[in-house]
């Protein structure tokens, strides 16, 4: 019985290919943000930039960091942490976006 069976349960190793695909996608998205930033979308520019950055982070989290293959608890953890950031952000801006 090999140790990896016991201790790494639930971890199916990815092939090399998927990592290259994700990398290409990340580069493409970077190209996209840089291009979009050159155009003038006004207030939408920052929204687009953050939206693209979120997609990039999602890819890194899910594939590079193997979050997709981890137990459910890990995913809940990430949601809890992000929730904490978002809710703090919203409450903080309750001070700044109103007078």
């Amino acid at each position: 019985m090999s140790n990896s069976d016991i201790h790494n349960s639930g971890h199916q190793p990815h092939g090399y290919g998927i990592y290259f695909l994700v990398w290409l996608a990340l580069l493409a998205l970077t190209a996209l943000t840089v291009t979009v930033a050159g155009l003038d979308f006004g207030a939408l520019t920052v929204t687009t930039a953050l939206f693209v950055a979120s997609i990039k982070s999602y890819l890194v989290l899910k594939i590079f960091m193997h979050l997709g293959a981890e137990q459910k608890a890990f995913k809940i953890f990430v949601i809890v942490a992000l929730f904490f950031i978002v809710i703090s952000f919203v409450l903080l801006f309750s001070d700044y976006s109103f007078i």
């Binding site: 809890v80 942490a81 904490f84 809710i87 703090s88 309750s94």
Partner: protein, 551 residues
């Protein structure tokens, strides 16, 4: 080969105080990764820092005995309340229960041999010691100890000539230590529960520690970066908070309280856990509403993270923010009230034994209720404008932090110390110490409510004659309180040296796992990892009750 294995396991079955590991003597302690030894290391350090913090508190009260100068100059007085705050908060109440009793008992309570990361556990103790020593050294360095109050408010903390950098970095390191403890506990609870130890079979102290650990992990980094920015601000002048360079001091207050408000729940929630352990044992009843108490810990952690700006109602926030934070503040009272209700319901019809731990637990409920309810009073916007920066706040805070967490720590000491060292303290003396502490506490802090309501500002060196009587009563109270502490320290330390040895595993009749093992525990905690089949507070009911239950 097989003898080697059996040697190792036999050694694991010696009691942890006599255990011989890689190192001997002092090194066997300060380099030990045994969670029990680390708990004791924390205990010693913690009680030492507490004594220092109490001394500063004593000096503050002494200075306020008379109008004008009593013993020291105003600058020294400012340093006193800063040091009192920094030491008590970062070195005593925040690490208090998780680091000492959490480390010692969490693995035992869930049926594990140790925490998930023993070496990181030791690292966190070392960071704690380094941080603590830095705070003490800041007193001796040229420039003098910080005089900003423990809140380090901008812009004064950038302008003052005192050792703010040193104290700020110390608090940063202490925060890191706290984070590591939090990471350890979350992982331990997720990964190392014994077979059969489901989430809802865990003792409520573990639930409290779990909720606390999450706040430690998520909120502490915010104060870490904020304190670092003060250091950066002082060294480089980047202007992120300095209003002269465009920075916003109110934003500093926001960031400070995003951590420091949840931090008060880091302090109080474990104490609530201790009370939830003690009440059923000394009332001989199953805890009332187990799941409500467990989930209210989580609810406090969640809601407690959303109310920070109620510390800033008078600092010039938007009225929308004031309204939102006031509303959320009222909500956070609900889970605390649920706990108080459940504890009282557990006591109802119980056969109550007034041993020292129970006295502290009952005092906790009483004092915490006063502290909590006066907190709700300040959550109301209009009242808060009147009470901001008065000694009413100081009284409220001490009723929660000392009357709550402080009494919780003493409850835990009297409850678990015999298990930790296998020796019993003098119960009579413990009760005498308790009553001195209780009476002294109320004499010290209650007048602060009254004079705060009448307008006495906090942190002031001087006061008007009409407040004299309250200040005098309060200072006398501090003497009674310290007398109580001397009794308690003396009694507990004496018990370690010459206390009666206990052979009984279960001196109080508890049902949680720590009462099923030797006192003091063996190095491995358990001879074999237990299989858990029943909940933590299942007391055998007498026939009469059983009949009622059937009906």
């Amino acid at each position: 080969m097989s003898t080697l294995v059996s040697n190792i396991s036999n050694n694991g079955h010696t009691n942890y105080l006599d255990y011989k590991g890689k190192h001997d003597g002092l090194k066997g302690w300060i380099f030990s990764t045994d969670h029990k030894r680390i708990g004791i290391l924390y205990l010693i350090a913690l009680l030492s820092f507490f004594a220092v913090g109490v001394s500063f508190g004593f000096l503050i009260r002494l200075e306020l005995l008379t109008i004008g100068k009593t013993i020291v100059e105003p600058q020294t007085y400012n340093a006193f309340f800063t040091l009192h705050g920094v030491i008590m908060i970062f070195l005593f109440v925040i690490p208090g229960l998780p680091a000492v009793f959490g480390n010692f008992f969490l693995p035992i309570m869930i049926g594990a041999k140790d925490v998930a990361f023993p070496r990181i556990n030791l690292l966190s103790w070392w960071l704690y010691i380094v941080g603590g020593i830095m705070v003490i050294i800041s007193i001796l360095l040229p420039g003098g100890p910080a005089d900003t109050g423990w809140t380090f408010y901008i812009p004064y903390s950038v302008r003052t000539g005192t050792n703010v950098i040193f104290t700020g970095l110390a608090a940063f390191i202490l925060g890191f230590s706290s984070i590591l403890t939090g990471i350890n506990f979350v992982t331990t609870i997720h990964r190392l529960r014994a077979p059969g130890m489901g989430w809802f079979k865990m003792p409520l102290f573990s639930w409290a520690l779990y909720a606390t650990a999450w706040i430690q992990v998520l909120a502490t980094p915010i104060i870490g970066i904020t304190l670092l920015l003060i250091v950066v601000e002082r060294v480089l002048g980047v202007g992120l908070f300095d209003p002269a360079l465009g920075g916003d001091p109110i934003l500093y207050q926001h960031l400070f309280w995003i951590y420091s408000h949840p931090a008060v729940y880091i302090m109080i929630v474990p104490a609530m856990g201790v009370v939830s352990e003690i009440i059923p044992v000394f009332a001989r009843r199953t805890i009332f509403g187990y799941k409500f108490i467990a989930f209210s810990s989580i609810a406090i952690a969640l809601l407690g993270s959303l109310v920070w700006a109620h510390h800033m109602f008078s600092s010039g926030m938007s009225s929308t923010a004031q309204f939102v934070f006031s509303l959320l503040t009222f909500l956070v009272a609900i889970p605390s009230a649920i706990k108080v209700f459940n504890w009282t319901a557990t006591l109802y019809k119980g056969s109550i034994q007034l041993d020292p731990p129970m006295l502290y637990a009952l005092a906790f409920i009483f004092l915490f209720s006063i502290g909590g309810l006066t907190g709700v009073v300040q959550g109301a916007l209009s009242v808060d404008i009147h009470l901001t920066d008065t000694s009413f706040i100081v009284a409220h805070f001490h009723y929660v932090m000392f009357g709550g967490t402080g009494f919780g720590i003493f409850a835990a000491l009297h409850y678990w110390l015999p298990k930790m060292f296998g020796r019993m303290y003098n119960k009579k003396l413990a009760k005498v110490g308790f009553w001195f502490l209780f009476v002294g506490f109320n004499t010290l802090y209650f007048p602060l409510f009254v004079m705060g309501w009448l307008g006495m500002p906090r942190r002031y060196y001087d006061y008007l004659p009409e407040y004299s009587i309250y200040h005098q009563i309060s200072t006398v109270g501090s003497w009674i309180l310290i007398l109580g502490l001397i009794f308690i320290y003396y009694n507990l330390i004496r018990s370690l040296i010459s206390g009666q040895k206990i052979n009984d595993k279960n001196i109080w009749g508890g049902e949680t796992l720590e009462w099923q093992i030797e006192s003091p525990p063996i190095h491995d905690n358990f001879h074999e990892i237990p299989k858990v089949t029943s909940g933590p507070y299942e007391y055998k009911m007498n026939d009469e009750e059983l009949e009622k239950e059937v009906k």
